[in-house]
């Protein structure tokens, strides 16, 4: 094993946040390397559909202040308001930058960028490209990456961060294409590895979304913030969990129960289908639990939109419904249900993406600044990847350019080699899929949309058992070097087990309902006096330890949250 | 059934044998051909690429004149003509604004407007099923006496399947069914749905020959006595360019290539004056001798 190369800034993950960070770091004059376990355009940012928020004011009166308020309220008041102000203020400039780079957005009659209504937004501010906005962003960012000839270590599975001298100095990876452990050194490292939806059996997330970066940071002892807040997207297909964008509701689609009733009237009489996502998911789950669904789903009804509008604005969603649910939304409502979608929690960073560890930055879903608090608005995540990706990239570049040394110790590499041997040498035990399925199913049942004490405690026990099975030995059948995803899947599983533990532990301790953490049976209301704070999970001696930190309030005091 | 007949460029000129065989065969399979005269080349992929608006209008003109004959079907005998006309037809039928504009242009130069819709169908589709197929079976009294025939579909009669749509583009069956109805044995081989290379045989000869050799080579290996194709362009490359293959590779394949109408024509007992095999570059004699024609 050897050090493959060194860079000023090493970005781990090549989705929207990673590529935006890399581009910015390059433009700031740094030598950049990007590590990704997938080819960049395969990253899950590309699956985002509905749009990206910015207060451009193209579709009506709007302002960054209004966007800020909506986001603070949407976060159920534990979003850090200074970070949110930055996001909303800088978003318009970032969108224009993307458009100047050639992003293929949908347009209004007058040629300006079109903006559609989205959940919990006071004014339509979601810029979009039909219903393939993520795809369009991934393409334009990759084009800009290629233009700058930035080095990409493609299909390098990032496994461990290298810490030396109280600094993060690189990443140890498994080379998927050729085999072998490879270390890439970096004066700074930017984590942009996305979320961990695959912890749940039903999720909108790709197979790749296993929280590798979150786990790497956790294992280094860094604080993870707000881990209990997992967003359940209201409209996912059954049984795959495939996403149907909020943009459908933005275009006017209804949510109906089995009788055809637009039930959101009873839960969010003003915003209706475009209430905040956690509100909608809870409403749906209540309808389902109370028997007004069919086969565990309620329905997304687009019939009244008409074929022309559906084909023009929502062709991707229509194709998904037809391919994966066998339903043409022009004629029939589509059965949908809440599915694990986005993790509000993650690696704690400041407003420039810097983590507690010198030289280590994070941006995008992996990070928790926090701009989303307890619940994220649709369209704000793509915005976060761009705005904070840029900020983290610049901050990392500036630090790297003002420091010269880099030192990756041999011992780090040797330890990793040994651990790899141990993993591969297991010859007796179970295959990883069983543990993975048990984790996913139990998390969905015991840590889903609605949570209760007994179930969460039971989940801790279940996960104890799963960890024990994992540590006893999981068999990797492929002992080879070339494209060994059997190996990487086992590492991913280990990451998810540790992260899930942090999540449930934080969930039990939060004795209130706030945002996506809903405890209607034991703690149905929000408790600002005791819990208007962030949870912090740290890994100490092989287990998570919980503490709390302050929420940064600037302008908005917590109010009752209704839609 | 009365149909408008659009023979296209090759059947008018270098592949006259296709026209003579088709005209002689038509009554035997229940087709009354009304030959269209005020027409032009359909443009092939070339006018579609060079001047796409002209392509649309030329094909609209052909459709308009066909409609003016009061028929429901415009019959073609070439893969490329079929795709071009069907594509233009879908554009006109599917977009009333475009149709209105095209019609306005046509009328302004004295062409009837394309108002009554027609359907464009290749002869292959007419005789592969339904009434045409029944008549085919009755007409093929002479039979092919077990001759091994390798069907070559080529590209554009199958793809894009959204426009052509007659059969599964990956598992077509029409030629095989016709061969068998004529008493022949259909040979299967992978390259039967691949490209013969004709569109680039002049501009990129080497690349085209690399494509062309595949179906011929495979047909020879599979023991075929002859190949049949529904496209005169494929016919031209398979037949006339075999000598170039020989010059390139040293291999003399001697594989006779028949037009669809000729193959059926043989089985139906048409004469040489109608089949005009003398016009082929690769001699068809060995195949004919085998069945004592």
């Amino acid at each position: 094993m050897h050090v493959e190369a060194t860079h000023d800034v090493l970005v781990v993950g090549a989705g929207c946040a990673g590529m935006r960070a890399a581009i910015e770091a390059h433009d700031a004059g740094a030598d950049v390397g990007v590590i990704s376990k997938l080819h960049p355009t395969r990253s899950h940012s590309g699956a985002a559909e509905g749009g990206i928020n910015a207060a451009l004011g193209n579709a009506g009166d709007d302002s960054p202040e209004s966007h800020t308020f909506d986001t603070v309220k949407g976060s159920d008041y534990i979003g850090d308001q200074d970070a949110i102000e930055i996001l909303c203020r800088e978003a318009p400039g970032d969108i224009y930058q993307l458009e100047h780079w050639g992003a293929v957005f949908s347009r209004r009659e007058d040629g300006k960028l079109a903006q559609r209504p989205f959940g919990a937004a006071g004014s339509p501010r979601t810029v979009f490209a039909a219903d393939i906005t993520g795809h369009v962003l991934i393409q334009v960012l990759y084009e800009q990456l290629v233009k700058r000839e930035i080095a990409v270590y493609e299909e390098f599975f990032a496994w461990k961060l290298v810490e030396n001298d109280d600094r993060c100095q690189g990443v140890i990876c498994w080379d998927l294409l050729n085999g072998g452990l490879k270390t890439v050194g970096g004066k700074t490292v930017v984590l942009a590895t996305g979320g961990q939806g695959r912890i749940y059996r039903t999720t909108t997330n790709a197979y790749a979304c296993t929280g590798d970066g979150t786990a790497m940071a956790l294992h280094l002892g860094l604080p993870l913030k707000d881990m209990e807040f997992m967003q359940f997207h209201p409209t996912t297909l059954y049984p795959t969990g495939i996403l149907l964008t909020e943009g459908c509701r933005g275009e006017g689609a209804y949510l109906i129960n089995k009788d055809g009733e637009r039930f959101m009237k009873r839960y969010a009489p003003n915003a209706m289908e475009l209430a905040s996502r956690d509100v909608v998911s809870r409403s749906e789950q209540t309808e389902i639990d109370q028997g007004r669904g069919i086969d565990g789903s309620i329905f997304l009804d687009m019939r009244h939109l008409g074929a022309a509008r559906i084909i023009e604005r929502l062709p991707g969603s229509r194709e998904l419904a037809m391919t994966f649910a066998g339903i043409d939304p022009i004629y029939d409502p589509v059965p949908v249900r809440p599915g694990a979608h986005y993790h509000m929690g993650g690696v704690e960073t400041d407003n420039d993406g810097a983590t507690e560890l010198t030289g280590l930055y994070a941006a995008g879903e992996v990070a928790c600044v926090s701009v989303h608090g307890a619940n994220r608005l649709g369209g704000n995540s793509l915005m976060e990847t761009i705005t904070f990706g840029r900020r983290a990239g610049r901050a990392a570049a500036e630090w790297a350019l003002s420091h010269t040394t880099i030192d990756v110790p041999r011992s780090a590499e040797a330890d990793a080699e040994r651990e790899l041997r141990d993993l591969l040498d297991v010859s007796e035990g179970e295959r990883p899929w069983q543990i993975r399925n048990d984790l996913g199913t139990s998390m969905l049942e015991n840590f889903g949309v609605f949570r209760r004490e007994e179930q969460m405690l039971a989940q801790l026990d279940i996960m104890d058992g799963l960890r024990e099975r994992y540590q006893r030995g999981v068999v990797i059948e492929d002992k080879g070097d070339v494209f060994n995803t059997d190996l990487t899947q086992v590492i991913e599983l280990g990451n998810m087990l540790d992260l899930a533990w942090c999540m449930v532990q934080a969930g039990i301790a939060r004795k209130e309902s706030r945002g996506a953490h809903a405890r209607p049976y034991d703690y149905p209301t929000r408790d600002d006096e005791n819990f208007m704070k962030h949870s912090i999970s740290r890994w100490v001696d092989g287990a998570p330890q919980l503490s709390y930190s302050e929420v940064r309030v600037t302008e908005y005091e917590p109010m009752e949250r209704t839609y | 059934m009365r149909v408008a007949y659009y023979k296209g460029c090759l059947a008018s000129l270098s592949a006259k044998e296709l026209d003579s065989a088709t005209q002689a065969l038509a009554p035997k399979v229940g087709l009354e051909l009304v030959e269209l005269e005020s027409v032009t080349c359909c443009g092939a992929g070339d006018i579609h690429e060079a001047e796409p608006d002209y392509y649309l209008h030329l094909n609209a003109r052909i459709l308009a004149y066909a409609a003016a004959e009061g028929v429901d079907t415009l019959l073609t005998v070439c893969n490329v003509c079929t795709l071009n006309l069907r594509q233009a037809n879908f554009i006109l039928l599917g977009d009333s604004d475009v149709r209105a504009r095209v019609n306005e242009n046509l009328v302004s130069i004295g062409v009837p407007a394309y108002e009554r819709d027609v359907d464009v169908r290749h002869l292959l589709w007419e005789i592969a099923e339904g009434e045409g197929y029944e008549k085919l079976k009755a007409a093929a009294h002479r039979g092919l006496k077990g001759l091994k025939i390798a069907p070559f579909y080529g590209c554009q009669i199958l793809r894009p399947s959204r426009i052509q749509g007659f059969e599964d583009p990956d598992r077509p069956w029409s030629l095989e069914r016709i061969i068998e109805a004529c008493g022949g044995e259909a040979i299967d081989y992978p390259a039967k749905i691949k490209c013969c290379g004709f569109p680039i045989i002049q501009a990129r000869e080497e690349t085209a020959l690399g494509e062309l050799i595949q179906p011929i080579e495979q047909a020879v290996e599979a023991g075929a006595d002859a190949m049949v194709t529904p496209c005169p362009l494929c016919h031209l490359s398979l037949d006339a360019w075999q000598s170039k293959l020989k010059a390139e590779t040293g291999r003399d394949f001697k594989m006779p290539i028949l037009h669809l109408s000729q193959l059926v024509g043989v089985a139906a007992g048409l004469q040489e004056s109608e089949l005009r095999f003398k016009r082929h570059v690769v001699s068809v004699k060995p195949m004919l001798e085998k069945i004592e024609v």
Binding site: G102, T240, L243, G260, H304, T323 | P52, R162
Partner: protein, 366 residues
Amino acid sequence: MQVGLKVWRYNARTGERELAEYEVEAPEEATLLDVLDIVKDKHDGTLAYRKSCRMMICGSCGMRMDGAAVLACKTRMYDVAQAGHVPVISAMGNLPIVKDLVVDMEPFWHKFMSVDPFLRPGYDEPPGGRENLIRQERMNVIHKESLCINCGCCVSECNAMESDPRFLGPQALAKAMRFVGDPRDGHKIERLDALNSEHGIWECTRCYFCNERCPKGVDPRDAIAKLGAESIKEGIDGDMGAKHAKWFVVSAKTTGWLRETELVPKTQGLVAAIKQTRFALDLAKKGKVPPPVPPHVAKNVRQARQLHDLLQQQGVNGYAGIVQGEHALGKLAHGHVSGETLEEIYDRPGAFPRPYIEEAEEAVTS
């Protein structure tokens, strides 16, 4: 349901190939990708393939089923299993195989990068730093090309590339069209010049396999035709392929029918034509070289001439001439027959109940 698969295993290091057969139990809604996952999890962990999103947007899982490239995540297995058919799964074509179903995408990305796949703006910053103002109709020119997810299915099946691996290929060319047609790009002529090279636009053999295989409706062949049309419109027409195409136009407006005999010298030039005299004579003996004189003229050819002049004035040429048909042809792609009113949809037999709002007395708090 029971599903059987035959998979071509391949080890690039040893060169060993093997057709492995698997039979698994899978849910009815399973896709090919789901079945491969079941094989890898429960039967053979060494099976190698790419995957990620499982919802046809990332482009990872391109592979061949019975010799035709598909996205594994888009391919439902129900009908195949019901028919008792055991498909053969193999790696995509035209790219070197790394292992089993994993191909080396490097040659693919190399061609992609060679067309400068990024905007080269022809403007200074728009006023106020805001967005460029572009109407949706104008952006729609590159709508289909912008759908490309780089999956490789088109490249896998490209007949021209199979014969000549140096051909740029459908994906790179479609991506090039995405920029040639983007109003913000300032280097259209330069791009078209480069694309008119030996292995560019005019090496496409028009087999339409790319249009057929593309899982996203990009229609690369049409993108290539758009590039050709735009090249000729801009006077970039020196390539033999362009000359060949232009002769069809000249033929149509002068005699109506293709002037076949003159096609070779017009395309390849007089010298090359003379070099092929022997070949031409062999064809001439069979009557395959119709004498150019007297010309074979179609009836009422005057109309063809007039039509050409009229359309020149109207100027719907270059890629615009092809884009004008996309609205109608898109209807074929969407498979939707328009026309029903909302009432008709709500009243269909067995239709789901109509949506309504229950005016509640008390809002249920969430």
